[in-house]
């Protein structure tokens, strides 16, 4: 398992184009927002948590099609499926690698981008907490979507259509934690729900991902 994780991480870092792209996309989206809605500090401060969450979500989404497609193309996915490691563990590791290469950098970069959007002072901590609690769910759900569409020639758009509705609860609770944190309200309920979604998705979705992957591999 560790070997597979290290292999995926090494591939993501060294293969070029995968690792930094999500972050760069996150930055671009954040820069585009003030250009689109105007530079008024009060407006930016009120939409900052939502925009940052949406940017992180889209950055996660864009990196999903590489998650399994490359292994599918060169056949290593078939080898992984026949390996002694259960396929459920393989997809969990894949999701973990995706989170480390995409989700974690987003969590760390979000406060810096918060400055660009004039995020209010108490919001930074809650933004980081909500992203740290929510992005694992995004990776796990995304792995399910990637497993569904892995055999398709042009799966990219379909992947977005399938995965985005599944992202709705995570987005709602995540952005709500960040928003409430920014205006100094109590964040306990949405944060608990967010963590619950992450934990539930992590516990259950790998079985669904492995099931659809088996169908796609037969």
């Amino acid at each position: 398992m560790i070997a597979l994780l290290l292999r995926d991480l090494r591939l993501a870092v060294r293969a070029g184009g995968g690792f930094g792209l999500g972050l760069a996309f996150f930055l671009i989206v954040t820069v585009m927002v003030p250009l689109a809605v105007g530079p008024q500090p009060a407006l930016l401060a009120s939409i900052a948590p939502g925009v940052l969450w949406l940017g992180a979500l889209l950055a996660c989404l864009l990196s999903l099609d590489r998650l399994l497609a490359l292994d599918w193309e060169d056949g290593s996915l078939d080898l992984l499926a026949t390996a002694p490691l259960p396929l459920e563990a393989v997809v969990t590791i894949k999701a973990l690698a995706h989170w480390i290469t995409t989700g974690l950098p987003l969590v760390l970069a979000a406060p810096a981008l918060g400055v660009l959007l004039n995020l209010p002072g108490p919001g930074y901590l809650w933004l980081v907490i909500s992203l740290a609690a929510g992005t694992p769910a995004l990776s796990v759900i995304g792995t399910f979507g990637a497993a569904l569409t892995v055999g398709l020639k042009r799966g990219g758009l379909l992947l977005s259509l399938l995965v985005l509705p599944l992202y709705v609860p995570t987005l709602i609770f995540g952005a709500e934690v960040a928003r409430r944190g920014a205006v100094g309200m109590d964040t306990a309920t949405p944060l608990l729900m967010l963590v619950g979604i992450s934990a539930g998705a992590l516990a259950l979705l790998p079985f669904a991902s492995a099931a659809v992957l088996r169908v796609n591999l037969r």
Binding site: L148, G151, L152, L161, V168, I172, A208, V212, V215, N216
Partner: protein, 250 residues
Amino acid sequence: MTQPAMNSSLWSYANPRKFLATTERLMPFLWTAALICLVTGLVWGFFFTPDDYRQGSTVKIIYLHVPSALMAINAWMMMLVASLIWLVRRHHVSALAARAAGPVGAVMTVIALVTGAIWGQPMWGTWWAWDPRLTSFLILFLFYLGYIALWEAIEDPDTAADLTGVLCLVGSVFALLSRYAVNFWNQGLHQGASLSMDAEENVADVFYLPLLVCIAGFVLLFIALVFYRTGTEIRARRIRALQARERAGA
């Protein structure tokens, strides 16, 4: 192919031929019953019920809105059950019925959203508000779109049935989660106005009885449409099998 021992049970309809023969005999009755219920309910509702003292004649849109909204949710439930049956017992008719129900459910969702918007314009002063009910219905519509798109995208019918089946299961959980998340996210707005239709005691009998007839009509219409579309799917698959056999023979 046929399994005479199972003839008396529901599972015998997993045989496409038996399914087609039975539904074909049922179809005229279903269509007629749906038509009678819809015409009776709608004419009764539109012309023979009094206007609401506050909402005027706009209240009459509930005869389309409520049944279509009900069927939009029940269609997904039916897809969920059919997908489960396919995943567990591998009955092809079941997978095809789930596929057939998808677009019907999507259309029901659109009808509910559009009639709601038409009602909301004079009543709430807006076509659209990010009310929990409205939002969760829009999300349900997105789930339908994804489900239909996945069916269309995959060529191998068994793979498509498997993948859409799992998507339906996972989607159900997330649709339910979204429903509660949305409730949490924007509570209070217009809640009273939409809730009053749920509590039966809030709707007077004069409105309630034609509404029941309309709901029955929509249920029958849904069943007829799903049977019809499932039959079409079975025949389409049969034609493809025949063509493949011909190519192989020639």
